[in-house]
Symmetry: D2
Subunit: 457 residues, 4 copies
């Protein structure tokens, strides 16, 4: 009996393939699902069932695609809001089987109403469950977010509390297999440990130390991001993705083709490269940050040209965009320096350090804005007095609060999100922008002044 | 915090690399240890410690090689029989650290006297141990063999019992990471499930359901194989392997070179290919069976020529031979059919089915031997009346009991080991040999007569 | 300017991708054409043109598929028999361009009427052509076959002679890039050298040493195989293949699924494995011989189950079948020995050597046939007196000449084709079949009696 | 008969493996020579001979390493200056054989005194040579440099002329296989076409259109770079490299380890990333420029720490450094942005465009230097009036001519070498440095003023 984890970086999404005696089950497959077929084949198994723990809001589910590829049946909890035509409904207490494996469905609402966990029984060792797929109910070190039904916030938080009791009741010995690891937007307190058990979570997970009332209070006071592409994911996942998405290296583009392109130019190189020089008007979305931030800035149907260091980076970016439903990558461009030698204009994004920021604050002229783009919890926990706050993802909504005549210096925790934000600003009419590299970390290192609370942001 | 398993097929050996925050620990590395370095690098970590659960008898340890490659320290339990010069002695209660990880050594003698388990503490989630490296003390579904000190059989079995109580005391929540999986010669009752916990074993492992006295009685009545190469492994592992062993594809050989070769010719193709035609005098040791059977037939210093389907198969065979200390592969040959067209002689091994075996038994002439080469437990559990028993690995010792004038039909459970045995017989002067394909399984399918007990073997 | 060769083993088919300055041209693409896209991308180029030297009869052209993938235009010589809807017609003297490359079309009929060669001009080094894609007109050491228009045999042979003069006129300096290498059924005298020039061929190619009349006489007296699947290739290539064919590992099958399968079971393991044991009724078509022999035995629409050593071998077999239009691989089976232990019946194919064949001939009983399955040229050049001749591919037509009551021993040059033939015979009602391993080669080695001429075959 | 080219990017070094019938010959192997063994094995061949066309001055030869790995013999032309102990001397007219291949040595001095070409004879097609390994005598579109014996400049240029006549005498049909392609420092006029013949070069190569006297005059007026590491290559290649050099990913480093490192920090990321932010005092040597420029700046024995985007880039950089003898890579660092958040200082290199350069020139203040770092031929052909010239590689010698009090703007053809130069300047005490991105290309695009001739550089 094997169990392999397939991790999608960026989304920090975890999916699983589990099998024995020539049959296999896949849990929460991602869209580019050839990987599960290849693992199954290398294990000499056919995929016979696909289980979904819940309707995904942060990524395109591969379940309908994998079902088409393999003939396997998809099982999904009851979804009264929008029945899933491409899946069979599975209910609490029902089970699916594959060889000696039996997977028991456990209704575990809270994160979503349709959420199911699946407890693993090995019929050759039938005492107790050896593991459980916990979806977005229970993570290593955290539990799922419960902010998707704002009008019923307390109700769903309480539902999650009750669902967690069901999971705990499986016994300390059960290994947990959650749908996300550290770095996901589906929970902010996840440990970066990749393995745990019900017992170890019972002892250590801070959310499992609370009584029902405290738990509900804690959950309802959390802040989570809800990028606009979530709506598209919902729509796509109800309909069911048609295919496994774009694959391979996109076509190379000439500088002339980029210049003629009528749509977003997305620079997926590391932030330092964007700072050094970039295509005028391009967005800075390094490949490692695409999953988190592309969904704030790009329209679903936009045709995209990438700027990349090389074809491999462009291929990885294309794959990651496809996982969140951005399929239209027209090509990639890797010749910026050469193009400048052909007369192509370029942008440059200066970076400054903490000393320069301190100097500017002291100078205290009215022509400068220090813009902190971290999330609200980070800001509240501590920020530089006088800074202005707008979350990096919300700039498209909130930039009208900024004065385009002023020099803007962006900052975050380190300078990465600050560069993403600066890229957006430059692409949207702000001309005098630079980046505070080191940002809050560097500021604290040199013991700069910090204030906490909502502040003037 | 990551934990990856490196599995060596054939030996069913499991080793681990565990790390966090830029540092990593390797547990029970195999000899070809570049793989750990590559995993560490892909995780952005340096290997700082190497832990050995015990002195391996079935494979060459890679610990001294990996230490040389990386500068990491090797830790090994106290070994009064033969101190390990290349390792530091670690004692019960001591711990090693890597980033937020702490690994606690737990003296767990029984399989060997120097056996240590290592319990995993995550200092960021410090309540209870999240896992434990159990070495050859506790497997999924079984416990370690205790037959290495025949004069102290009861004593070491009791020691193992006590060691297992220590492991159980870690709590149900601890995931277990043993040194072997199903298919290893280090335990015959292992489940083929690749994941379990202390709690799940406590509930299901048959050996953990016994009281001390019954446990000792059960362990001391087991039969285990002790192939002659174990002695060489012991010697090599005390000295410490000098390098990571042969790698890559061995050199191709011409038929003339094979003919001139003065040493064993080892055919690593599947058994059916050997049956069809083989190099005269070659041994049948398919790549999947090499780890289990090469150590019975080959001398440590022998220079070997392989017969393989292609270079990839030859490379895999070379790697597996290196893991058990057979380093001298002079080359491989893949041109048997072509060579026969050049006049090269060849062997052929006929296969027969259950009907033919039944016919021969009925005929009951004194010129035929049905030779069952399964192990003693399989034989005792049920065999064909009139068959003769000799374990496949013991043929070099026991073949003098066989009459080379008689036709010999070899059998096992399916026909695979029977072909290995037939190959050895043909290479050692027995001319009229064939194989009962389907063997005991086919015999039972057609409801042939079976007797149990020690029999006439 | 780069030029990479893509070789398809088995078919010995050669295709090319040539490019410079961001643009590329593909010549004679095979069906599974992702490889050209990946090479182009790794070279930073877009594929802009696809050239076909002629309508392929031995494989599925990938040109329409690659055109769909890339948007490139396909160019094909004028084909009055059946206009190619998915291609643009290119005529003698026209050229296509990509970056500094210019490819000049040269009408070179003979092998087919629509045959075009394409001479490579580098506009940065414009004196003389640096190379030429010669299709099936000129090979290394041979020229194309001219037997596709039996009623016009002399005419097309003479056309080929004239076409070759045009190629010679390009000058000695031009490197030749033919559509096939040694091992193809499209020419029997090819050298196994993978590189040559017009000059080197002018000096060495035996066919280029002949005057027009001798050339025509030589060509019209050749014998070539025309397997039945050629008709399907013609049909498919006129319509244009719809996709790049099956990819990846086919699904694993249980023994029960193979038993239930209603269609051909194709054993793609090496011949020795088939001899050792095989699924009853299966065909022996080792992966390396599939391209040459599957097209004689399989119906275009048949659903196939493979017997393979492992998934990798099954995947390679599936790919090769797809290249010649057999797309329906339902799965593969790799558990024959295990299945026999479950009571599954099996076939066995004994092999005998030259001494045994000599003994049987001496015995001279009327119950034995020695069946030589080589091609007619090999047979005529020399065979064993008393043997019967039927080409391996023609057995489905000619087996009614054989007496199923007799023992049949198949032979060829080495034993490989003999095993393929024996497999077909056993699957078609001949029960007493064995294989002469070593065959004609072994017979000559021991100086057995040989006669030449048409003989009694 | 196969022939595969192994290309080492950066060095634009070409080496070859050629074989037939189970034997192979390698020509001019690079240091990391496992690749030849793997190609040979995939072709079923043993490497039996290694041919060197000449003593390499720009890279570490792998011949002695490959000889040790395979047992093959190395052949090298007579080298009176320094006999090569690890090679056998081969003389004009001698030949080596492998299967049906025969390789004829042709003394072709000029580039070096010991230079040999090797003409390929296929004994199965023996009329004329099918190809020739031309080493550094004849390239596609150019011939070898002849500046290694400055006191005998005319003599060796004439020798090369005579050697080229010998190559031309082989006949138009011979394919040429040179030791370098476009981008090598061993010849500046190479075409970027990867394939040619003697005949095509005779017609197109500009150097082959000259009479002896004109040829000598042209060769003796060329300028070539002679980076200091060439001396080390000479020394290493006479002794013979001991091993195939560093392989795999170097160990990851923490920021603290980089800070503590006492030796060069080499930033191998693309130039834009270095411009954005870099480790203080680090050198800018992007992986694609390492082969050309590391040898100017690094001491042979220096222990190097790399700054890289990721482990894969660090591994590639390590391999390329090893090929030119820089073996001591202590580790790599990929966490600059994170480190700045820990308070780590950083450098930033502003970039400016042509408009800003024009503005600065107009301002004409005495506090600014425009430094052109292209080679002397590029400078002479046309430069911006008022600029100062120093070749990028010669800065360590010539920087004392620059005023560290002035702002320096570096430029080249595009901005790439300008960034390398700016990195060196910043690491060596010049504080106010920026880069003219687009450089000469951008300048010409906007029709800026240009003067030719030696100028004020």
């Amino acid at each position: 009996m094997f169990l392999e984890t397939v991790k999608s970086e960026g989304l920090a999404h975890l999916s699983y393939i589990l099998g024995a005696d020539g049959e296999a089950v896949v849990v929460d497959p991602r869209r580019d699902c050839e990987v599960y077929v290849e693992i199954a084949r290398s294990r000499g198994a056919r995929i016979v069932h696909i289980l979904e723990t819940h309707r995904n809001e942060d990524l395109v589910s591969g379940a309908p695609v994998l079902a088409k590829m393999t003939g396997a049946t998809v099982h999904h909890g009851p979804n009264p809001e929008a029945p899933i035509a491409w899946a069979q409904t599975i209910r609490d207490g029902e089970a699916v089987e594959a060889g000696p494996l039996r997977l028991h469905a456990i209704e575990t609402p809270g994160h979503t109403y349709d959420h199911m966990a699946y407890a693993i029984e090995d019929r050759d060792s039938p005492h107790g469950h050896v593991g459980v797929f916990t979806g977005d109910a229970l993570f290593v070190g955290d539990v799922g977010r419960t902010d998707f039904y704002p009008d019923e916030a307390e109700k769903v938080a309480a539902l999650l509390f009750d669902s967690l009791q069901k999971l705990l009741a499986l016994g300390d010995q059960a290994i947990i297999y959650p749908a996300h690891g550290a770095g996901s937007v589906c929970g902010s307190g996840m440990a970066d440990r990749e393995f745990s058990t019900i017992g170890h979570e019972r002892l250590n997970n801070p959310r499992l130390q609370l009584d029902r009332q405290t738990f509900v209070r804690a959950k309802t006071s959390e802040h989570h991001q809800y990028p606009p592409y979530f709506r598209a994911m919902e729509r796509i996942n109800i309909a069911g993705a048609a295919d496994s998405g774009p694959a391979g290296t996109p076509a190379p583009c000439t500088a002339a083709a980029v210049a003629a392109h009528d749509g977003p130019v997305v620079d997926v190189r590391p932030v330092n490269a964007f700072q050094g020089a970039h295509w005028p008007g391009s967005l800075c979305l390094p490949v490692g940050m695409l999953s988190a931030f592309a969904g704030w800035y790009l329209e679903a149907e936009a045709e995209i040209v990438l700027v990349a260091d090389d074809g491999g980076q462009a291929a990885e970016a294309t794959r990651r965009l496809g996982r969140i439903g951005f399929d239209r990558v027209a090509g990639y461009f890797d010749g910026l320096v050469t193009a400048t030698a052909g007369g192509q204009a370029f942008g440059h994004l200066p970076v400054v350090g903490a000393a320069e920021v301190a100097r500017r604050r002291r100078r205290n002229a009215g022509d400068w804005t220090l813009l902190d783009v971290r999330d609200i919890d980070e800001w509240t926990e501590g920020h530089i007095p006088g800074a202005v706050h707008a979350y990096v993802g919300r700039l498209p909504d909130q930039a009208d609060r900024l004065d385009p005549e002023r020099r803007i210096t962006t900052m975050c925790a380190s300078g990465a999100r600050a560069t993403v934000a600066a890229g957006w600003l430059k692409a949207n009419g702000f001309e005098d922008v630079d980046v505070f590299l080191g940002s809050m970390g560097a500021w604290r290192s040199r013991q700069g002044e910090v204030e906490s609370g909502p502040g003037g942001g």
